[in-house]
């Protein structure tokens, strides 16, 4: 999937992946896609909750080998 920015949140624990995602999105323009890679298993539910509450769209998410990848489209 195409994305305009990548955020490496591996090794970070709650709430840092969410806070860094928020910060990264703030520097992007509407419609841009942010790719986030995390290792915190809690980030799966948290990213969904973040998207729901902020109006940004979680277009895709996947897990492979203990790493979680999210594609978030800026509102």
């Amino acid at each position: 999937m195409d994305f305009s920015k990548e955020l490496d949140a591996r090794g970070l624990n709650c709430p840092l992946p969410i806070l860094r995602t928020k910060k990264a999105l703030a520097e992007m323009t509407s419609g841009d896609i942010l790719k986030v890679i995390a290792t915190d298993p809690g980030s799966v539910k948290d990213m969904q909750a973040f998207a729901k509450q902020t109006g940004n769209e979680l277009v895709n998410s996947a897990e492979a080998g203990g790493e979680y990848t999210f594609f978030m489209k800026k509102k």
Binding site: N13, L19, K22, Q53, T54
Partner: protein, 169 residues
């Protein structure tokens, strides 16, 4: 949509209890909430310039797992059941427990308190210190980080009364 509001009262001054107010406040701010934290009594320790003195005490806290943050996996898995009587008598026991907890925090990629605190401030979380307890404990305004406001219970209720979520920690 009107901005949601979160009001928190932070009353505890130990390293473990420093986390909930700052984690919830920074996350709520990231979700678009307007957030205020009212620091009172021992909670004032969390907004001092120097928080390196924050400690954790396993004494009288049976809920705290006592595990070592280093060594092989089998060693890390041991829960050290140390009786309260021993904990209370060994000098420096809290210091040892505190440095072990700091090591565990770093190993797990959990943010430090100064880090979370500045993330809150960057996200415009408002910090209010209870002026009455500042005086009660003999603190000066210069003991606290920049950006603090000082007020009393009425100041807290001005915001809390309109809040969607209000927590006492």
């Amino acid at each position: 949509m009107e901005t949601k509001k979160l009001a928190i009262i932070a009353t505890k001054g130990t390293l473990d209890w420093a986390y909930p107010p700052f984690i919830l406040a920074s996350t709520a701010a990231a979700l678009g909430y307007e957030v205020q934290i009212f620091f009172t009594f021992y909670g004032l320790q969390l907004v001092r310039k120097d928080v390196s003195g924050l400690k954790v005490s396993p004494l009288g806290n049976p809920g705290m797992p006592m595990k070592m943050p280093f060594g092989p996996k089998w060693f890390k898995g041991i829960n050290w059941n140390i009786p309260n009587a021993v904990q209370s008598l060994v000098p420096g026991y809290e210091n040892v427990a505190t440095s072990l907890m700091k090591m565990t925090i770093a190993n797990n990629g959990v943010a430090t308190i100064p880090e979370l605190r500045s993330l809150c401030q960057e996200a415009d979380v408002k910090f209010i210190a209870c002026q009455m307890t500042v005086e009660l404990f003999g603190f000066e305004h210069s003991d606290f980080i920049d950006g603090m406001e000082y007020g009393g219970a009425a100041t807290f209720f001005e915001f809390a009364g309109e809040s969607d979520i209000c927590l006492f920690i």
